[in-house]
């Protein structure tokens, strides 16, 4: 198992470029990859900027299917060994773009997925939004959200006491532990593998 390369997929919902949300996402990814390397696991990190898929996400909500690049993104996300999800906080909660993306993910496809949450906002007064809005969303999807979620306010980027970096490192270790504890990625790509035989369906009717 130690020789397997693990895949961390980073989903960032920042809208501006450059974005502090992306900055936080990159730090969380680096900390998680470092911690996995310490545990003897190579890691591949793939970053998804939702801004690039904003129109496709809305189209998928309207048509019921994701196409092209967005379909590939969804496959990447559901096939990851661990997810790092980072959203800016808008009007008390995660951004609409972030929620729209979550809404088009098959709700059963993320069960038991290790997830690290991050958020950015103007002031620290919003930091609990991570725990009262973002965490329940991912709990509903039956993901395994690590205990530390990282909030970065504008002030954090100018702080001298490295508090943000300590939180990032701790969160990265927690995600690494959850990912390392997971069995190696499952190989089956049969989308209908779970379909019951019809005799079973009849019996259950």
């Amino acid at each position: 198992m130690s020789t397997t390369t693990r895949t961390l997929v980073v989903v960032t919902a920042g809208l501006s470029q450059p974005s502090s949300t992306r900055l936080l996402a990159d730090r969380l990814a680096a900390a998680s990859a470092d911690a996995l390397l310490e545990a003897g696991q190579e890691t591949r990190v793939e970053v998804v900027e939702l801004r690039e898929h904003a129109h496709a996400i809305m189209d998928a909500m309207l048509t019921g299917f994701a196409s092209g690049d967005l379909a590939e993104v969804l496959e990447k996300v559901t096939g990851a060994d661990g997810l790092i999800l980072v959203s800016p906080l808008f009007t008390t909660t995660y951004s609409g773009l972030f929620k729209s993306f979550v809404d088009i993910v098959d709700p059963d496809s993320l069960s038991a997925m290790p997830v690290l949450l991050g958020a950015t906002g103007g002031t620290q007064r919003h930091s609990l939004a991570l725990d009262y809005s973002m965490r329940p969303l991912l709990t509903y999807l039956r993901t395994q959200v690590v205990p530390t979620a990282v909030f970065a306010a504008t002030d954090d980027w100018a702080s001298q006491d490295e508090a943000l970096q300590r939180r990032v490192a701790r969160a990265g270790r927690e995600l690494a532990e959850a990912v390392a504890a997971r069995p190696a990625p499952r190989g089956s790509d049969d989308p209908f593998g779970d379909t019951p035989d019809f005799a079973g369906l009849l019996g259950g009717a």
Binding site: M58, T63, L201
Partner: protein, 383 residues
């Protein structure tokens, strides 16, 4: 291969004129469209079933029964018949009646319906969609294949000594398709009974359709009805055609942009690339639809949606003429040349072919109760 049209019966304002037909006009336009398709030589007309506005097709067998009397050759079908919210006893009676009235010139397609509020209006719950489809269809088959039925299930009143009349024409029930977009359980159901499977892929990318059809074919073979390539498959489709491609795009775009379901979403160009929607010249339709066989294997029925989104009746009739004259003959030649073997069915089974098959299996007597495909009794199958 059969080529036909299906209507979802939507009453939609024509966005280019602001005019909205009333329900009566819409029903009559469906009758005109079906008769025109018959006269033009298309193979199938199918009506949807809906119990909520803006749709008018609430009573398919009334519509199809009339059409049976005023058309000559076209096969009358449904797209879809709600196997979840209709009482299977009423379905057995109504569609056996339609079969007798039409002289067997009909089949039907089962579907669950995806509008949550419709279920409680008929005493059901959408969360039971799959179990309802399974139980109701198992009962429907018994009502058609057994003269006297004792039955007890989860979703309706038990039956003791019940006989559904009229008995099916020549003792052979109508051919049944099962339609589903996303639920492999329904493909499994179609495969289990050796029925047809229609993937109405009009809003879906081909890679998804391909997976569902492959699954149905594998399961059809698994359940012993024949080889995977002999399974009976149908696809949906959506086209808007003019002699010149640019004219088709210019005329259809205002309808596309505000259409129910996909309007206000992806562009016409993106949606055309992602789904079977083809807006262009007859040759573009021939090229596109002539290649679907390469994705799903040779299939037996191709349906087109041509009368939705507020398109005027005159336009729908022109689309039928373009299909019948400029597209279907050439498309049929192309796809039938790709049929892999003579024992792969050219078309879905007709009533006469089903009677002959049942006769060969010694099961034409009304009430024999033998499944003409598997040769087993329905009650054994259902157990």
């Amino acid at each position: 291969m059969q080529f036909g049209i299906f209507s979802v019966s939507d009453v939609t304002t024509d966005p280019t004129t602001g005019r909205t037909p009333d329900d009566t006009e819409r029903v009559r336009s469906m009758l005109t469209i079906a008769q025109h398709a018959d006269a033009a030589g298309l193979d199938v007309f199918a009506t949807g079933e809906h119990h909520n506005p803006p749709f008018v097709a609430s009573s398919p067998t009334t519509l199809l029964g009339y059409l049976a009397g005023v058309t000559r050759n076209i096969t009358l079908s449904t797209a879809t018949t709600l196997i979840t919210t209709n009482d299977p006893v009423r379905l057995a009676e109504e569609y056996a009646m339609l079969q007798v009235v039409s002289g067997g010139r009909m089949d039907l397609m089962m579907g669950r319906g995806n509008t949550g509020p419709v279920y409680p209006w008929f005493g059901q719950d959408i969360r039971n969609g799959i179990p309802l489809a399974v139980e109701n269809y198992a009962l429907l088959r018994r009502l058609w294949t057994e003269d006297v039925v004792d039955w007890e299930g989860r979703f309706r009143t038990p039956l003791q000594g019940f006989t559904s009349t009229p008995r099916p024409l020549d003792g052979v029930p109508p051919f049944v398709w099962h339609g589903s977009i996303r639920s492999p359980e329904i493909a499994e159901q179609a495969a289990y009974y050796g029925d047809g499977f229609l993937h109405n892929n009009i809003f879906w990318p081909m890679h998804h359709t391909k997976q569902m059809v492959r699954f149905y074919r594998q399961r059809y073979e698994h359940h012993g009805h024949g080889r995977a390539d002999q399974a009976i498959v149908g696809l949906g489709g959506q086209v808007f055609v003019r002699k010149n491609s640019q004219d088709a795009v210019r005329e259809f775009r205002p309808y596309f942009d505000v259409a129910p379901v996909y309007g206000h979403g992806p562009s016409l160009e993106d949606f055309s690339a992602q789904t079977p929607l083809t807006v262009g010249s007859p040759q573009q339709v021939i090229d596109r639809y002539g290649a679907f066989v390469d994705d799903v294997g040779y299939y037996q029925r191709q349906m087109f949606l041509i009368d939705h989104a507020g398109l005027p009746l005159k336009t729908a009739l022109e689309q039928i003429d373009l299909l019948a004259e400029e597209i279907v003959p050439e498309l049929r030649r192309i796809v039938e040349a790709k049929r892999p073997a003579d024992d792969v069915p050219l078309n879905p089974p007709t009533h006469a072919e089903r009677v002959a098959a049942a006769s060969a299996a010694g099961a034409t007597h009304v009430g024999d109760g033998f499944d003409d495909v598997t040769g087993t009794r329905a009650e054994e199958v259902a157990r």
